[in-house]
C-alpha cells in the first residue's frame, strides 16, 4: 500500500480544484491534486459563453445588481450573503484571471469584452446588461487552460489519472482520501490534514445531458456515504438549448448575441412566457416553456424540439422591431467570430450551418445546484446549524454554498468555481498551518477494497451499461423538467430495482488491473445510483414548485412552508441504504433583513422574496 503525505489533498482538477491548488500553494501549503482525468480534460473546459462579473466595461453595472440577479434567478432559495460575496469577489477574480494571462476578447477600449446572458440585468431587473466576460465561445476552456498553465508554473504536484473512491474519516474529521491509480489498478492512500472535493457534478444520471461521461458525482457520493448530508439535491438544472437528442450544449451566449427560440408555427414564443427578458429569461423558465410548447403541439415536427435561430436576417429583424441601434446588427462574420465552436458542433454533428439554418434544440440535463454543503470559505458543514467537519472542503459544482438556490444563472458556475475555489484554497492553507496530522486508522482501504472485489468477482447477468441506461431513462422520464408525486414515485421504484440488480446481479468482463475502465464504470454507476436516489427522494418531499423543481401537483412556490434548504443523509449501507430528509436549514435572507432594518418600504425591498417575472 503506497501512502502519500501532503498537507492539502485536492480531488479534481477542473476550475475549482486548480484555483484552490494555486491559492493554497501560493500561501505555502504542500498541495497534491488527485484527478481521474488529466487536468485539461476536466469539464470546466466545456463551459462556453462567459463568466459574469460587474466590470461595467460596456454597460453601467455594480456587484449589487449581480447579487440581485443571482438571488432572483435562484427563486429566493439562494443564500443572500453568499450571493453578495460571489458578485463582489467575481470582479477581483476575473481581473486576476486576466493577470494570469487569460485571453479574453477585447472591447474597442482594449478592456475585457462582455456580452448579455440570461437573467443578468442592470438596476434590479430594469434591462439586460452586458456582464458575461468572454473568450469567444470557449471561456471555460480558456479558464481551465490558464489555471493549469499557472499550476505548471507554480510546480503544483499532480497525480493524474488517480481516481478517488473513498474518504478517511477519523473521529469526525477527515484524514485523507483513497484513490485507485488507473494505470496500475493499485490503491493509494493520500494522507492529508485537509481534503478538498472539487470533483464536479452528476449529469450522467440523465439520458440527455450536456455533461461529460466522467461526470458521475464521485465526490458527492463518497461524502454522502461517509456521513455528510447533501443539500438541495432536488434542484437540477436543465439547460434549454442542448443539441436535439445528443444534449451537447449550445451556449446561452447565442441568445446573448441576439438568437431567438422559434416554435413550429414560426413564433418567437418566449415573448409570451417572459415579456421583458424574452429568450434571456432564466434557464428554468425557458426550459419549461419549451416543454409547454411541445405539449401544446408546437414543437418542430412534433418531436420535442424547437429552433434556435441566430441567422443574421432573423436576429436583425427582431433588433429592428425592438428599436436597437443599427451598430448592434450582426452579419455572418460576427456569428463566425463570436460563436466558432457552436458553428463547429452544429456543422459536425447535425450537418446544420447555423448561419444559414436554425439549430434544433431541446432541454438537456446540465447542472447540479445542490451538493456537498459548505460555508462561504468552502468548509464543509454537516448540519442545519452550520457545524464544520474539520479537514473537509468542497467547491465548484459538487458543492452547495448555496449561491445558486433553486436555479443557477448562466455564467455563475464559472464565477462560483473561481470565487469559492480561491477562498477555499486560502482558508485551507491557513487551516493546515495550525492543524495536526490525524493518525490513519488500521486498514483504511479495507471497506472500499471489498466493494471493488465484489464488483470485480461478481458473476451476475446485468451489465453496468444496461443498468446505467435504464437509470438515465427513468430519471429523464420521471425526475426531469416537470414532476408529480406519481412520476417521482415511479422513479424511486425503478431506482430501487436497479440498485438491487447492481448489488446482487452485476457482471463485468474485464478482470485485469491496468486501466480497468469496465470496473471503474461499474463503481461509478454505484455513485450515480446514490445521487439519483437522493435527488428523487428530496424532490418527492418538497411539495411546492421553485426554480428547477417544478411540480404539476404543487404548481406554486410556497415560501410559508418551503423557504428552506433540504438536507438528505445516508446511513452508509451501500446495498440497502436508509435516507433521512430534513428541511430545517434556513435560507440566509440577510440582505432583505438589512432592508427591513433600514426601514425600506416593502414595495422597494429588492431582496424580499417575491414572484419572479422576467
Amino acid at each position: 500500500m503506497k501512502v502519500h503525505k501532503h498537507e492539502a489533498i485536492i480531488v479534481g482538477a477542473g476550475g475549482a480544484g486548480l484555483m484552490a491548488a494555486l491559492y493554497a500553494s501560493k500561501a505555502g501549503a504542500d498541495v497534491a491534486v488527485v484527478s481521474k482525468l488529466y487536468p485539461t480534460r476536466s469539464h470546466t473546459g466545456a463551459a462556453q459563453g462567459g463568466i459574469g462579473a460587474a466590470l461595467g466595461n460596456l454597460d453601467e453595472d455594480k456587484p449589487i445588481y449581480h447579487t440581485y440577479d443571482t438571488v432572483k434567478g435562484g427563486d429566493y432559495l439562494t443564500d443572500q450573503a453568499a450571493a453578495k460575496i460571489l458578485a463582489e469577489n467575481a470582479v477581483d477574480a476575473v481581473i486576476e484571471l486576466e493577470h494570469m494571462g487569460l485571453p479574453f476578447d477585447r472591447t474597442s477600449e482594449k478592456r475585457i469584452s462582455q456580452r448579455r446572458f440570461g437573467g443578468h440585468t442592470r438596476n434590479f431587473g430594469e434591462e439586460l446588461v452586458r456582464r458575461a466576460c468572454h473568450a469567444a465561445d470557449r471561456t471555460g476552456h480558456m479558464i481551465l487552460q490558464t489555471l493549469y498553465q499557472q499550476c505548471i508554473k507554480n510546480e503544483v504536484h499532480f497525480f493524474d489519472e488517480f481516481q478517488v473512491v473513498d474518504m478517511i474519516v477519523v473521529d469526525g474529521a477527515v484524514a485523507g482520501v483513497i484513490a485507485i491509480e488507473l494505470g496500475t489498478g493499485e490503491f493509494h492512500i493520500f494522507h492529508g490534514k485537509a481534503s478538498f472535493f472539487a470533483s464536479g457534478g452528476w449529469g450522467r444520471c440523465w439520458s440527455v445531458t450536456s455533461n461529460a461521461h466522467a461526470l458521475t458525482g464521485d465526490g458527492a457520493a463518497i461524502a454522502l456515504r461517509r456521513g455528510v448530508p447533501l443539500e438541495d439535491m432536488e434542484f437540477f438544472q436543465f439547460h434549454p438549448t442542448g443539441i436535439y437528442r445528443m444534449g451537447i450544449l449550445i451556449t446561452e451566449g447565442v441568445r446573448g448575441e441576439g438568437g431567438v427560440l422559434i416554435n413550429s408555427v414560426g413564433e418567437r414564443f418566449m415573448e409570451r412566457y417572459a415579456p421583458s427578458a424574452k429568450d434571456l429569461a432564466s434557464r428554468d423558465v425557458v426550459s419549461r416553456a419549451i416543454y409547454l410548447e411541445t405539449r401544446e403541439g408546437r414543437s418542430i415536427k412534433n418531436r420535442g424540439y424547437v429552433h434556435l435561430d441566430i441567422r443574421p436576417g432573423t436576429v436583425n429583424r427582431y433588433f429592428a422591431e425592438e428599436g436597437r441601434d443599427r451598430n448592434d446588427f450582426i452579419d455572418d462574420a460576427t456569428v463566425e467570430r463570436k460563436l466558432p465552436d457552436i458553428l463547429d458542433f452544429c456543422r459536425t454533428y447535425l450537418g446544420v450551418d447555423p448561419v444559414k439554418e436554425p439549430m434544433p434544440v431541446q432541454p438537456t440535463a446540465h447542472y447540479a445546484m445542490g451538493g456537498i454543503p459548505t460555508n462561504v470559505d468552502a468548509e464543509v458543514v454537516v448540519d442545519a446549524s452550520g457545524t464544520v467537519m474539520p479537514g473537509l472542503y468542497a467547491a465548484g459544482e459538487t458543492a452547495c454554498v448555496s449561491v445558486h438556490g433553486a436555479n443557477r444563472l448562466g455564467t455563475n458556475s464559472l464565477v462560483d468555481l473561481v470565487v469559492f475555489g480561491r477562498r477555499g484554497g486560502m482558508r485551507m492553507a491557513e487551516f493546515v498551518k495550525g492543524a495536526d496530522w490525524k493518525a490513519l486508522p488500521a486498514d483504511p482501504e479495507g471497506e472500499i477494497r471489498a466493494e471493488f472485489d465484489r464488483i470485480r468477482n461478481s458473476t451476475g447477468k446485468s451489465r453496468s451499461g444496461e443498468l446505467r441506461a435504464k437509470m438515465q431513462e427513468t430519471m429523464m422520464e420521471n425526475i426531469g423538467v416537470f414532476r408529480t408525486q406519481e412520476t417521482m414515485q415511479r422513479g424511486i421504484d425503478d431506482l430501487a430495482e436497479l440498485r438491487e440488480r447492481f448489488y446482487t446481479d452485476i457482471q463485468i468482463d474485464d478482470k485485469t488491473r491496468i486501466f480497468n475502465t469496465d470496473l471503474m464504470e461499474a463503481w461509478e454507476l454505484g455513485a450515480l445510483l446514490d445521487l439519483a436516489d437522493v435527488t428523487a427522494r428530496t424532490a418527492i418531499e418538497r411539495k411546492e414548485s421553485r426554480g428547477a423543481h417544478s411540480r404539476e401537483d404543487f404548481k406554486e412556490r410556497d415560501d410559508e412552508n418551503w423557504l428552506a434548504h433540504s438536507l438528505i443523509s445516508h446511513d452508509g449501507a451501500l446495498a440497502e441504504p436508509s435516507y433521512t430528509v430534513s428541511f430545517d436549514k434556513p435560507v440566509d435572507l440577510s440582505l432583505w433583513e438589512e432592508e427591513i432594518a433600514q426601514g425600506v418600504p416593502e414595495d422597494k425591498q429588492q431582496f424580499r422574496p417575491k414572484a419572479r417575472v422576467y
Binding site: 482594449k110 469584452s113 473568450a135 508554473k153 494505470g183
Partner: protein, 247 residues
C-alpha cells in the same frame, strides 16, 4: 445499417494478448449520424467490457479520445459513421507507448508541452487602477488560433519527425509556445524561442503538414510552427513580432 469495426487491441496482463492483434466487432442498427465514440461504447457496453479507451466530454473539447480512425488521427467523438463508412479500422495513436488497447502513455507528450514554458509570464506590477492589462482585439487575434488547442495529441502523433525522434517537442508543444510568444502581454518570448532553437526544438519540423489536417480544432498548426521558426530567425529579443512582419 451494419458496421464492422476492426480494432487494434493489446493487453499486457492477459496471456496471448501481450502483443498487438486485430479484433472485429459488428454492430447493427447503426445510424449514419452516430458518433464513432458512441459505437465504441456500444461495443464496450453490449459486447466486450474489456475494450479500453479514454473519453470524457464526447463533443470534441476535452481531447481524451484521440485515435487513428481509418489511418488518420481523429477524435472518436467528432467523427460520425457517415464520415468513416461501413468498415472502420481503429488503432491507438502512433509514437507513444501503448498501455492497453487504445490507451497510450501520454506522459512524454505532456513532458514536451511543459518544456516550452506554456504559461503566461509578466513580472510588471499590475495596472495601478487594479484593472485588466490592456490589449487591442487586433493583438488578441494574433494568437487566437493557438488558444484553441486541447492537447489531444492528434498533431504530434501524426508527425513523421516525431515518430522518428520522440525527443522532438512536437507540433502541440510549439502551438502551446506560440500562444504566448505572440501575446503582446507576455514577457518570456525570448526564453521560449531559446528552448525551441535547441536541437529537439522547432527545427525538427520538416513542414510535412500532417499536423494541420489532423487537428480536430482546425488550428493551422504548420502555420503556427512557421511563425515560430521565422521569429527565431528574425532574432526576437523584445516586443511583439507580428506574424505578418516575420513573413
Amino acid at each position: 445499417m451494419d458496421v464492422t469495426f476492426k480494432i487494434r487491441r493489446q493487453n499486457p496482463e492477459v496471456p496471448g494478448q501481450e502483443k498487438p492483434y486485430w479484433q472485429e466487432f459488428v454492430l447493427s442498427d447503426v445510424d449514419p449520424a452516430d458518433r464513432v465514440l458512441e459505437m465504441l461504447h456500444r461495443i464496450k457496453w453490449e459486447q466486450d467490457g474489456s475494450l479500453s479507451l479514454r473519453r470524457s466530454c464526447a463533443h470534441g473539447v476535452c481531447g481524451s479520445d484521440a485515435m487513428r480512425i481509418n489511418g488518420v488521427n481523429r477524435l472518436a467523438c467528432k467523427m460520425l459513421i457517415q464520415d468513416v463508412g461501413e468498415r472502420v479500422q481503429i488503432e491507438p495513436i502512433l509514437g507513444l507507448p501503448v498501455i492497453k488497447d487504445l490507451i497510450v502513455d501520454m506522459e512524454p507528450f505532456f513532458d514536451h508541452y511543459k518544456r516550452v514554458m506554456p504559461f503566461f509570464v509578466n513580472e510588471d506590477p499590475v495596472p495601478e487602477d487594479g484593472r485588466e492589462r490592456l490589449q487591442t482585439q487586433e493583438d488578441r487575434e494574433l494568437f487566437d488560433d493557438s488558444t484553441k488547442c486541447i492537447l489531444c495529441a492528434c498533431c504530434t502523433t501524426s508527425c513523421p519527425s516525431f515518430w522518428a525522434n520522440g525527443h522532438y517537442v512536437g507540433p502541440a508543444a510549439i502551438v502551446g509556445a506560440h500562444r504566448f510568444i505572440f501575446d503582446t502581454r507576455d514577457q518570456a518570448g525570448k526564453e521560449r524561442l531559446d528552448v525551441l532553437s535547441e536541437p529537439d526544438g522547432v527545427w525538427r519540423c520538416r513542414t510535412i503538414f500532417n499536423c494541420t489536417p489532423a487537428c480536430p480544432r482546425d488550428i493551422e498548426v504548420t502555420r503556427a510552427i512557421g511563425e515560430v521558426k521565422l521569429a527565431i530567425r528574425k532574432g526576437r529579443t523584445d516586443g511583439i513580432i507580428r506574424p505578418n512582419e516575420v513573413q
